[in-house]
């Protein structure tokens, strides 16, 4: 479904991604791991189209999408739950969700998708008329996920969705993600907490300094001494 080859991304003068390659098949749950500043968020941003690729390819459903505008990719079924949530603090929860359906192709299914999200996160139905900044961190994360779902994505990019979320809520969110996966949504998850990531993903890539350095299934990676050295000892 998604195929990245030798991706290069620059932030102005600074090169954040040197050489990233990865594949995600439809229906898979793939992890993207790496230390702080490794280039995970930049990779996700490049996939969605908020950063321009300076080199390499990003193919989605066999079409070249590197350097397409974000709106085109959202319409094509990619959505991002960004690091730090990036909600609209002075807008109501419901308005925040509705903004996720901004691309024209998504506007027809607003009511349907809202219902789906309120079923997934019932608390949001209750809080739909409160401003986003009045919610707890976990609830805000639910809004961010819900907003991404408003465009009925097939590929969901999640950037550290559990950061700053209370453990009880993490369980709830995790359950929701599992339900989505069961419905056929494909996942690319960025997560710093390896244990948590490994609970969810089937396969993962590791990037370091803007380069993919390791890849493999959950079992392969957990059995790989290099991987253990890099991550497992640390947390």
């Amino acid at each position: 479904m998604l195929e990245i080859r030798n991706l290069v991304v620059d932030h102005g003068e600074l090169r954040a991604i040197w050489d990233v390659s990865l594949d995600v098949e439809a229906g898979e749950r793939v992890g993207l791991l790496g230390a702080n500043g490794a280039g995970k968020s930049t990779t996700l941003g490049a996939i969605l189209g908020i950063y321009k690729a300076s080199g390499g390819h990003i193919r989605y459903k066999s079409a070249e999408i590197a350097n397409r505008e974000a709106v085109q990719n959202v319409e094509a079924g990619i959505a991002l739950v960004p690091e730090g949530r990036q909600l609209f603090p002075e807008m109501k929860v419901r308005e925040n969700l509705e903004m996720g359906a901004y691309p024209r192709s998504a506007r027809g299914k607003v009511a349907e998708n809202l219902d789906r999200i309120f079923d997934l996160f019932p608390i949001l139905r209750e809080k739909q008329n409160q401003n986003a900044n009045e919610l707890s961190g976990g609830q805000q994360q639910m809004v961010a996920i819900g907003r991404a779902l408003m465009s009925s994505p097939q590929l969901l990019l999640l950037d550290e969705p559990f950061l700053g979320v209370a453990p009880v809520i993490i369980e709830e969110v995790m359950a929701a993600l599992n339900r989505l996966a069961d419905q056929g949504v494909t996942f690319l998850l960025v997560e710093q907490n390896i244990h948590r990531a490994m609970e969810f993903v089937e396969r993962a890539y590791v990037i370091e300094n803007g380069r993919t350095v390791l890849a493999g299934s959950k079992q392969q990676l957990l059995g790989d001494p290099e991987f253990s050295n890099k991550f497992l000892g640390l947390d």
Binding site: L48, I50, E69, A70, V71, V74, E75, A79, L80, P82, R85, Q86, L87, F88, P89, E90, M91, E95, E98, M99, G100, Y102, P103, R107, R147, A148, S151
Partner: protein
């Protein structure tokens, strides 16, 4: 005494409502594009002058004049963003900031001179000679009722636009989180240009309403820009309700200062108010509502 207070309140609300309209456009533009448009009040003056001239020559209904001017100002705002403001973004932040000040101040000077050259430097307004309503000792011009009605309707319309339309919501979204908006598929460059256009369109409406009551001249808009800055800071950036309240408050404060104290102090009210509120409510009046 009640009559005097009533008369002052009417004038204060009118003045303040008009101030708020000036602030609306400036606030939208700043919220989205993060550019302080120093030419904003001058654009109001140009709108008012154009409206006065169109009225004098064609005797057109002011509502129609507003429609025509809004279209012209929308186009002007769009082009202004594409050709003057947007290119500055390619500069580093320091140059960009200085650049926007220079560009908008330069624009202010140029359009003032140009308008003075074309239309003459004398103040102009739309002299609607309607009868007045007299209630006891309180006198209200029918034109003033039209202005109050216009301000109210327009504020409601703008509020609904920002709340209910995709475009309006996109403006608010970009104001509150540019990255979040980007992720939702909002094209920022397009929204920027469109918002500058809308901000200018709003100022055209403000200019027509303004010229129904007060004369404007090509050099007379800058103090309105300063008042609009004050209002935005009092009311909160991108906050329509806050701007309306702050505008009305400022208008009433000026009118009452002039009556209770001395007229030469009235223009200073906005500055004093600004200082006081920045000290007492550092997060703006809007935070008091909550």
């Amino acid at each position: 005494m009640t009559a005097i207070i009533a008369q002052l309140v009417i004038s204060g609300l009118l003045l303040g409502g008009l101030y708020a309209l000036v602030a609306f456009g400036l606030s939208l533009i700043y919220g989205v594009v993060r550019i302080l448009n120093f030419a904003h009040g001058t654009l109001l003056a140009i709108g008012g002058i154009a409206a006065s001239i169109i009225f004098a020559v064609y005797k057109l209904n002011p509502v129609l004049i507003a429609v025509v001017l809004v279209l012209v100002f929308l186009v002007f705002g769009y082009l202004m963003h594409i050709y003057l403001l947007d290119p500055l973004k390619k500069r580093n932040p320091f140059e960009a900031t200085i650049g926007t000040v220079l560009v908008t101040v330069g624009l202010l000077l140029i359009i003032s001179d140009l308008a003075a050259e074309i239309a003459g430097p004398t103040p102009k307004n739309i002299p609607l000679e309607f009868h007045a309503y007299i209630v006891g000792e309180v006198i209200i011009q029918r034109a003033e009722l039209y202005i109050l009605g216009g301000i109210t309707l327009f504020t409601i319309a703008l509020h609904l636009f920002l709340k209910k339309t995709w475009f309006g919501r996109a403006i608010r979204a970009v104001t509150q989180s540019p990255l979040g908006a980007n992720i939702c598929g909002i094209r920022s460059k397009q929204i920027h240009a469109q918002t500058v256009a809308v901000g200018c369109g709003i100022v055209a409406i403000a200019g027509v309403l303004w010229s129904l009551k007060f004369p404007v001249d090509p050099y007379g808009g800058f103090d309105l820009t300063v008042r609009a800055f004050t209002i935005i800071i009092l009311g909160g950036i991108g906050n329509l309700v806050g701007a309306l309240l702050a505008g009305l408050f400022l208008g009433l404060a000026e009118v009452f200062t002039s009556f209770l104290w001395a007229s030469d102090w009235a223009p200073a009210v906005s500055i004093v108010l600004l200082l006081v509120i920045l000290v007492v409510f550092p997060r703006g009046l809007a935070s008091v509502r909550k």
